[in-house]
Symmetry: C2
Subunit: 418 residues, 2 copies
């Protein structure tokens, strides 16, 4: 089993008191939620061997070559600051990063450099339109970046009832070892699991068994940081995943469900490399990649941002990911002619697409699913496990009601939640 | 001496007649001048080991990683075609590329794929503004790219009186060998040579001698393909370089003057890698890189497109260029206090910038030089060799006169020339 060496950036337990006291006296920079998510990513070693927010040389290697000295690093992990912040830390040998008033980490020998926003966006996303949700964040961020090695004072807790799912790379490696896994196939997702996903994952499990692995295990690894406003929120997704496991659409003995704490940036072929590399650090030996990974609709034009096949092609050729096996995603859709091949199991009628009988397949898109849910229509039998569907349907119904209430000017009590 | 193996794409002499006959009968695609310049680049082996216009996998490796299987390739060398072209070659196992009605090359097993223009521009240039001259070309080009291995029928001749300077990589390697060069330092340029450039090159020569090289040689390698409208045209630059050599500002025994046949794309840190790699293929062992190589003013904002230090930093860290030594350019300016250190030689008063006496340096920018020239003002003594200055001054005077004539509605006889 793969247990890559991980550099965590947490202060040793014995030093926490001293470092906490030191941090209190340093010049401080307040960071926002997304930067705090990146801080967690760095602290826990998802980006290992990185030891802090990027310095300029690392940033240049990242945006031009998607690697730092042979290690894949496609997405910049940088900390924007404004001119006022820059002035406040001028000459400081160390600074403290704070989040919501709490000292989080010490940054050593901070290096301040220009935040070339347009160029960063262009090279990372392949466009610069601020209508893109993460590009908009970049354009609105500070004009400088500050990089340097980190000493992180405490473990992260978001206190949202989901922290038990937030396992670090080392914790995941230990879990896989405890279970005796000899292959771990990771599935990154930011959506509810329908039976097409499940079919793919059970099929991958079967194939790995056929290849001779004794205990192949799925790392079902939803992204838990920032997502754009129209994605399904994390708590709803986690409820839905629980249903999928309870109904044994995915078997709990063959599945580890955990939350990946990073933000989503919607950078397609550039981001999928990062998603894969982070899971490799957690011990994944195989990575499942689908159509248009980390993609979204173009913010201006009537098309997707990326060509659907680019993500998996770029992932397959990316430097520094040679040790993880890329498993291309077969497209699954609702097969109107399929009789369930697992009687009593709800994999139902989702099937791998067969172009020779294209007419018999029905693609249930995200927007069709949302329409079903809002209107109380039950999707075709076998599309999603029933309890999981209920979670999704309830969410969209509540969201539609809240939107209607907001439009009518009524107080939308549940709005914050949906 | 470095003599990297070069793959030329020319048809062997014995096969030219047969291949020419074959080409005549194939479906044809007419290519424009810039594509023909890229064809020459490929044919002569500047991009070796590339064997043709990029297929999609090569294109993706290039735009995401700036390398193809460990070989540096930062700039896409692609052939755009439109929908009509695409339809006309559908199913063809071979096609012929033509330029100005002449069959130039056979492309084997052509692969047509989507020209993702915005993404190509963003990842290559760090912006997508069509106000950038080469990005504008991309945006106006066909919606598809066609890639495949090439068999090029004939050597290239542009019949402009300058073909004798267009030496291929193999010809340059042979020239260096004939001269007994043990170090070749390449200088890419698209501007007249002033004494600041010359100082840098003579200084590099001196340092290489000190390092123990017996016969260090300058490859003075102006770019000869497409340049934007306000750059000095090639024929004028070549006249000016002749003056620089005749006046022995650069010593002819220590200098090889040749034309690099590719187009300029103004892609800064991305393009400088390509400029360096192409010269490595020609046998260069050292590459001189200055401030903001291959940069230009931002097409929209009031700043340069790239930060001045990014080009040389990115070049120094670029994968696949480990075998060529990067020589960073020291900034030279007009030193009002300098007494010529080469009495009788016109290196004059340009000197390496000394920040401790900044007041004594005068930066003569391109726009200041153009103003001097237009207005018939002689620049400070020692800025440029006198006969070279005359060439530059005559060019700008003629250009200003032609512009004035055009404005007055008069027939501008010399306009095409300037």
């Amino acid at each position: 089993m793969a247990t890559p060496p991980i550099t965590e950036l947490f202060v040793a337990a014995a030093d926490v008191a001293a470092k906490t006291a030191e941090a209190a006296g340093l010049p401080k920079i307040a960071i926002n939620k997304v930067s705090c998510e990146w801080l967690q990513i760095l602290a826990e070693g998802w980006a290992s061997p990185m030891t802090g927010f990027m310095r300029e040389k690392e940033f240049l290697k990242c945006i031009h070559f998607n690697q730092i000295d042979g290690v894949n690093q496609s997405v910049p992990i940088v900390l924007p600051i404004n001119a006022e912040d820059k002035a406040s830390i001028a000459g400081a040998a160390k600074i403290t990063l704070t989040y919501e008033g709490k000292d989080m980490a010490i940054m050593n020998a901070p290096e301040v450099y220009d935040h070339v926003k347009e160029e960063r966006a262009a090279r990372t996303f392949g466009l610069v339109d601020a209508g893109h949700p993460y590009v908009e964040k970049i354009m609105n961020a500070g004009d400088f970046l500050v990089g340097g090695e980190l000493e992180v004072l405490n473990k992260f807790a978001w206190n949202d009832g989901l922290d038990k799912y937030r396992k670090t790379p080392l914790e995941l490696q230990a879990e896989f070892q405890k279970r005796g896994c000899d292959a771990v196939f990771a599935f990154q997702l930011r959506n509810p699991v329908h039976n097409g996903h499940a079919l793919l994952m059970t099929d991958t499990h079967r194939k790995l068994k056929e290849q001779g692995f004794k205990k192949p295990t799925l790392l079902l690894h939803p992204l838990g940081g920032y997502t754009k406003a129209d994605d399904v929120p994390l708590d709803v997704r986690m409820q839905q995943y629980d249903c999928v496991l309870n109904e044994k659409v995915l078997h709990p003995d063959e599945t580890v469900l955990a939350i990946f704490p990073g933000p989503m940036i919607y950078a397609g072929p550039t981001e999928v490399q990062w998603h894969c590399k982070a899971r490799m650090n957690a011990g994944a030996t195989h990575y499942i990649v689908g159509r248009d990974p980390a993609g979204m609709a173009h913010p201006v034009e009537d098309r997707d941002m990326f060509l659907a096949h680019h993500g998996r092609e770029v992932l397959a050729m990316a430097p520094g990911l040679e040790k993880i096996e890329i498993v291309p995603f077969k497209f699954a859709a609702y097969d109107s002619k399929k009789v369930s091949d697992r009687p009593g199991k709800p994999l139902g009628a989702m099937n791998f697409y067969d172009p020779s009988r294209a007419d018999e397949f029905v693609k249930i898109s995200g927007s069709k699913m949302r329409k079903f849910a809002r209107e109380g229509v039950t999707p075709p039998d076998g599309y999603m496990c029933p309890t999981g569907w209920q979670v999704v349907a309830d969410f969209y119904k509540a969201k539609a009601a809240a939107a209607a209430a907001a439009e009518a000017g009524e107080p939308a009590a549940k709005k914050a939640r949906v």
